[in-house]
Symmetry: C2
Subunit: 411 residues, 2 copies
Amino acid sequence: MENFLKKAKESSSIIGVLSSSQKKNILNNMADSLEENVELIINENSKDMSAAKEANLSSAMVDRLLLDKKRVESMAKSLREIAALKEPVGRVIEGWWTDDNIRIEKVSVPIGVIGVIYESRPNVTADVAALCFKSGNVAILKGGKEAENSNRAIAKILQNVLESNSLPKEIISLLPDSSREGVNYLIKQDSYVDLIVPRGGEALIKHVSANATVPVVKHDKGLCHTYIEKSADFDMAIKIAINAKCQRPGVCNAMETLIVDSQIAKEFLPKLKEAFDKYNTELRVDSRALDIIDAKEATDEDFDTEYLANILSIKLVDSFEEAIEHISRYGSGHSEAIITQNYTLAESFLNRVDAATVYVNASTRFTDGGAFGFGAEVGISTNKLHARGPMGINELTTYKYKIYGTGQIRG
Amino acid sequence: MENFLKKAKESSSIIGVLSSSQKKNILNNMADSLEENVELIINENSKDMSAAKEANLSSAMVDRLLLDKKRVESMAKSLREIAALKEPVGRVIEGWWTDDNIRIEKVSVPIGVIGVIYESRPNVTADVAALCFKSGNVAILKGGKEAENSNRAIAKILQNVLESNSLPKEIISLLPDSSREGVNYLIKQDSYVDLIVPRGGEALIKHVSANATVPVVKHDKGLCHTYIEKSADFDMAIKIAINAKCQRPGVCNAMETLIVDSQIAKEFLPKLKEAFDKYNTELRVDSRALDIIDAKEATDEDFDTEYLANILSIKLVDSFEEAIEHISRYGSGHSEAIITQNYTLAESFLNRVDAATVYVNASTRFTDGGAFGFGAEVGISTNKLHARGPMGINELTTYKYKIYGTGQIRG
């Protein structure tokens, strides 16, 4: 393992200075090669599929695992899109002359070696490898056990392209020891690894955060709220609430709790319930809402739960302050929205709520690299530092200061 | 302790939304109050001074500890300068409209609760408190045992100003349990603390990095190189080398190793030695340089040592590549310089050397918040993520995305 990490680290100085056009060409080569090797990929994937069926994985999980011709083509398409993104390395973030007449440029540079730990869908292997490559980083990938054969085939194809371009294969590789011990070793190698990105269940993220000495950018849970303030346009509020909860209930930017101004509850809640009933959403509401609509009563635990399912908690509040307090207490700092026509409250909500993404009059579902226009994303960071919210290729870079002198010394 | 941290966390939503003018006024009040209480401060400081003398601390350490009228005035001046800095919160870093016609603004916001662990000089207490306050953060300060009475007096004065402005005193406080156990507890409280900044010896930084679950921005060692490429102007090279080594040998941006092109060594080294002899610098040189000048022979350990003293290692190299390799092997990623008149090599050095600050034709001593024009600094980060190099008030902020919609839902 140490030898492997050493080679990974050494490779980072090679990938780190590849030109933009070289990286583009190689990523397009990789896309071609995935398509050329579609049979091989499907063949290896079928081993994972049989194992999954034997292990009685849920049909949803088995479906996420499946690779067919269309999915391999879509993997290749994603690589070509990443290839076409604007070069993330070498952006001049700021620049100025100092009092000593030296010129300083703050310039984006690759982070170095990035370890990404993820689950299930094998297309993540190609996507994350490509995002790291585009941003000049070495990628060490640790996918789920259930996708082992598929991931190995994909990584091998990408590595062959690297080698045919005279680049070390360590620029993209699977973690050689993919056991729990292997992961525990990896997350402590701060002399070789610059960043760990864990994507997956709460237990994994907690374990990695607690034990890593390498910096971690977490992709943790989203307990997102939408607050219907009394001046809200009811039709807009209902349309947004339905979208935030029902479009894809299993994702981190889906809404879990709707907060409703008590002054409008009598008029608003029946309309809301009517709309959610069409989506068979289970409503769990506080005791005051229970007087207005027929639903299950919410417990305190409900307000603290990321359902990731078609279930919605509803809370009535008597004031803007109470809404802010509820969000501050239960929110996970991911995505929080207010629906309002009141300018002052809209501004106050955006300024005061402490979350990666704060919304006025839009669905929380927009917290996404694609929707933000980033092209592709490594994930959605719930860290406050380095990267917050959708994490695209620019968030896979750090910066250095370049200083242009003409013989200056410090006085 | 938990109760204290809870209050600190709660206070962060108050300081986080204070207006720019309120923060300015309060910082100026704090400066006034330090000057008004100069006798109290000197009185408390004298207790630390006697203890230091009793404990036989070095005269340098005792001097760093001393507070007299002039030093208190300079502390107050520093607070007024921080008050006058450009507001770091609410800067629009980027902004755009997406394909869904929502408007996104990426805006700087405070980090939250910041723990700073530092040593010796009591003025750091006022400085760091002010930098955190200006950037809208709660500061938990853990100074050195030797400055305990001074730090307590300073913190109390700042807290009184907070309270007379109807703000919770927890916005600025000393860590209540300043023992090793107290620090170990603090660095694991990721639900209350958002960032730990350790400044101090290698052992402290290693311990904090290894044990913290709170994100850490390290202020670690600087093993800085200056490479005299063969096209360098000799006079400029010598002037810069002397400044980088001798102006303040004990700081992290001082040079530790000089790398000299072997093609110019015969002519250059005697001149260099002559210059350094005037500063009584101890030279430790590799075997080839030993054939040219009279000096001590350098061991491999020398090249791996941050002397923090008036000692310089000298290494001859046969090529630009060899210089880059030496820096990549021994450098700490802090500050690295090339002295050259060759355009191509200058550019290549700036692009390829992986360090927070890379220089052409200037002294590494400029890696400093003041010299960069940041006004004041919390320290110099050796992290790659979040903040790299000099860390001013802008680096004490993170960002959020504000999303302005008109009823958008995800398609």
